[in-house]
Symmetry: C2
Subunit: 477 residues, 2 copies
């Protein structure tokens, strides 16, 4: 009987496996649920469960929480080694010179009239627009005079207290007095760079580099040292260590959690090591943690700031990816640079707008932020998989896609001869936005790569991916 | 009969004149109305009117619109010539080095726990807090998704259209597409300076200089050329012309209307000449027009921008003085620097917060902004006179006070041996804020001057002025 049962569930597994092999079920497709299949095949639920376990072991299907079983994507991840090194990379700081092509591409990437696979913008439909509108209304009416008056340069106390309260979950309990509210994370980071660096100084940063950083680093007259990074664990500490010995570095910028564009998540031990390495050499670390709250796993990863023992980590984040981009509410916990940052904030625009600070504070206190986060994490996790599957389905063999554990961007890598800029141009002509790899570096790398935004998902987007995949074949040199 | 009547109104005039001379009525006091006096003295209203006309001619009383007749302040205005020239002034650009005393004073000037005679902050009680709270509420609820989403870098269209519509009143009809919304006027001005100047460049600016400008000019690594100014007409074009021939100047900053701190109002002909002079030498002019709407007269003065023929005037303003400082909504019409300014705005903080832009746009469209402006102009006009009278009453002989026709700051000048920094320190100990002259220059000038804020008026403030006046005698060297 036992032998018979075995044969039975193996038979079930072979039947489904055959349908996958023949393309009836394609990567990313949902296969029948246990109940459905046991009904259709008139076998017990147990039998189906064992069959699916077997298929999982064979790597053909995967369970997705609260969703069912899916044909596992056969698409490969990029190899977990840095992109091939260029002559002098990680040693020679480079002045930021963005050519006209790159600038033009950067402008187009977030063009809202395109199918939104280009910019790393969050999906507004997932954001708590109605709740926030009610809260900005009630807070302004409750305290009309306060709401039209200047906030302190460091920001209103209630908001700083809420942020401090939440900071425990990222492993670094902050006090409200360590925080300065900014007009978004970008402002936090530009203030940080201006507090630390003088023109001509060098900033070390994981490569590929989020191109917005290149923009403001260029404007500030700084040089960039690109540190090779891997899609799993981020910046290479070996190269960074080597670079620190070779050349003076004034600051390091790092997106430790769900890096944009790589998706990498630096392991805790490596985070600790990075902070130690830099602080041993008195190099301040500017942390961008805007994706930290968007973990697909159960636990929010630690902030680099949580390993900071000398006040040398300037932790920057915002509510632009999770609550309201248009509110322009972000913050910085700048450690020993606190006074300088507060002074610069005053200098450039006095303070962040008051009503939006009040509304975000109220939302954090009484808006169910954690519940909201759980929802959008789930959606982004699903969409990242859907987009990944979709690329796997429509793109030429040899295409590799990152497999991030949080955030909402994917890094796509094709064979060397692939020209992502050409794909970008063809896509643009079809009204589809993508972010070609060359805008993520000052060097000659990533010409075969591009970044996709998974914040949105619809049939239109799937069609766009199909279109892209179809055009990709024509983009090889 | 005619002779008899003459004697009668002269008698009435002499009677009231005598009461003024003897101190029964003091400068700034209201004297009886025409109706009251004609009743009290049993003479015709016509007789009183003629008597008051005579006293007005003698310079003893003045009519104040919608308020009555007042004993004219005997306090002098500062002489209408620039403060005494220093060696090399107007010729030698100076790097901005703010000493610790100045920085400390600047921090204290706007300390909200002090009697608010120090900072040039508007009076929140005069601002339309309730109306704005209703409008930010209704706008956010009407368009929840738009309100949480990024605004374009240049700002939301409706707000730009409203600002453009109003620009006609300042003599320069702008199109919405010439305007970039900023987080207040300070941000507009720092963006302007960054678009135009590189570190080491020289900026010409009327002296005394609003100290906030010195702060950000210092940070940007620019040099300052202080151009002597008069309390009536502002910056000396003779000195500016001379300076342009002597030294390269990269930009000029000018508050043409109701200058802070002098109160000067540049006449139209001089404005035209200034713009022509600068544009002939290809020097961009950064205009700060935040006080333009606060004219005490019937007409809003022209903006410098209205004389701009070559796109060389960068017109900066905000709603911080008239609507809501905490909303951080300002704008810049940067002429030929439009693209650069928009790019810099994106670079530093992407865009200005959306809900506050929406609320201000709605207020401009449907909030009765003009009616509101008429109200606050009247209040500020009254308070400026009250504060001026009060200084005249309590300060030592020889004290001179500016007589601005708009805005809400007064510039007070005492004899040379007076030490305004000493008064500032004594005032601070009494919980009273004033802004001593030395923070308005990089040179050694204005040690005998200070600025007062007339945005607030109460018995407490009058007592504070009395206290200041009493202490002033002890501040002579």
């Amino acid at each position: 009987m036992t032998a018979g049962r075995k044969v039975l569930y193996e038979e079930v597994a072979d039947r489904i496996g055959g349908m996958i092999d023949s393309g009836t079920y394609r990567p990313g497709d949902r296969i029948p649920s246990i109940r459905e299949l046991s009904g259709q095949m008139r076998v017990s639920a147990n039998t189906v469960m064992e069959a699916y376990a077997l298929l999982e072991n064979r790597g053909m299907i995967e369970a997705r929480p609260q969703s069912g079983f899916y044909v596992r994507s056969t698409i490969l991840e990029p190899e977990d080694r840095p992109a091939k090194r260029e002559e002098g990379e990680g040693v020679a700081p480079s002045p930021v010179i963005l050519d006209e092509v790159s600038l033009q591409v950067m402008r187009n990437v977030s063009n809202i009239s395109l199918v939104p696979l280009g910019g790393s913008i969050p999906n507004s439909d997932l954001l708590p627009a109605l709740k926030l509108s009610r809260m900005i209304a009630s807070e302004s009416r409750r305290q009309p005079l306060q709401s039209i008056s200047y906030a302190p340069a460091k920001g209103i106390k209630r908001l700083r207290a809420q942020i401090a309260k939440r900071s425990i979950s990222s492993g670094c309990p902050l006090s409200p007095d360590e925080i300065v509210i900014t007009s978004g994370c970008i402002e936090a980071m530009t203030l940080a760079l201006q507090a630390i660096c003088r023109p001509g100084d060098t900033v070390a940063i994981g490569s590929p580099v989020y191109y917005t950083f290149l923009n403001f680093i260029q404007w500030l007259g700084l040089k960039v040292l690109e540190i090779p990074s891997t899609p799993k664990e981020g910046m290479s500490l070996e190269v960074l260590t080597y670079a620190i010995r070779q050349t003076p570095i004034s600051a390091c910028i790092c997106i430790g959690n769900f890096n944009n564009p790589l998706g990498s998540l630096m392991p805790d031990e490596k985070k600790r090591e990075l902070v130690r390495l830099l602080s041993r050499h008195d190099i301040p670390l500017i942390e961008d943690d805007v994706y930290g709250e968007l973990s697909f796993g159960a636990v929010r990863p630690t902030a680099l700031k949580s390993y900071d023992e000398k006040g040398m980590v300037l932790h920057c984040s915002s509510f632009s990816k999770t609550v309201a981009p248009g509110y322009r509410v972000g913050w910085i916990a700048p450690g020993r640079y606190y006074q300088k940052i507060k002074q610069l904030k005053t200098l450039f625009n006095i303070a962040t707008a008051t009503p939006t600070q009040m509304a975000v504070a109220e939302f954090l206190a009484n808006g169910g932020y954690d519940h909201h986060l759980r929802t959008i994490r789930r959606v982004y996790a699903r969409q990242v998989t859907q987009l990944r599957d979709s690329v796997g389905r429509y793109f030429p063999a040899g295409t590799r896609v990152s497999r991030p554990e949080g955030g909402f961007v994917l890094w796509v890598e094709l064979p060397d001869r692939f020209d992502a800029l050409k794909l970008y141009e063809m896509a643009l002509a079809e009204g589809i936005g993508i972010a070609p790899g060359r805008i993520f570096t000052l060097g000659e790398k990533y010409g075969n790569c591009f970044r996709l935004n998974a914040a949105f998902w619809s049939e239109e987007i799937e069609r766009a991916v199909k279109t892209l995949g179809g055009m990709a074949g024509g983009c090889f040199e």
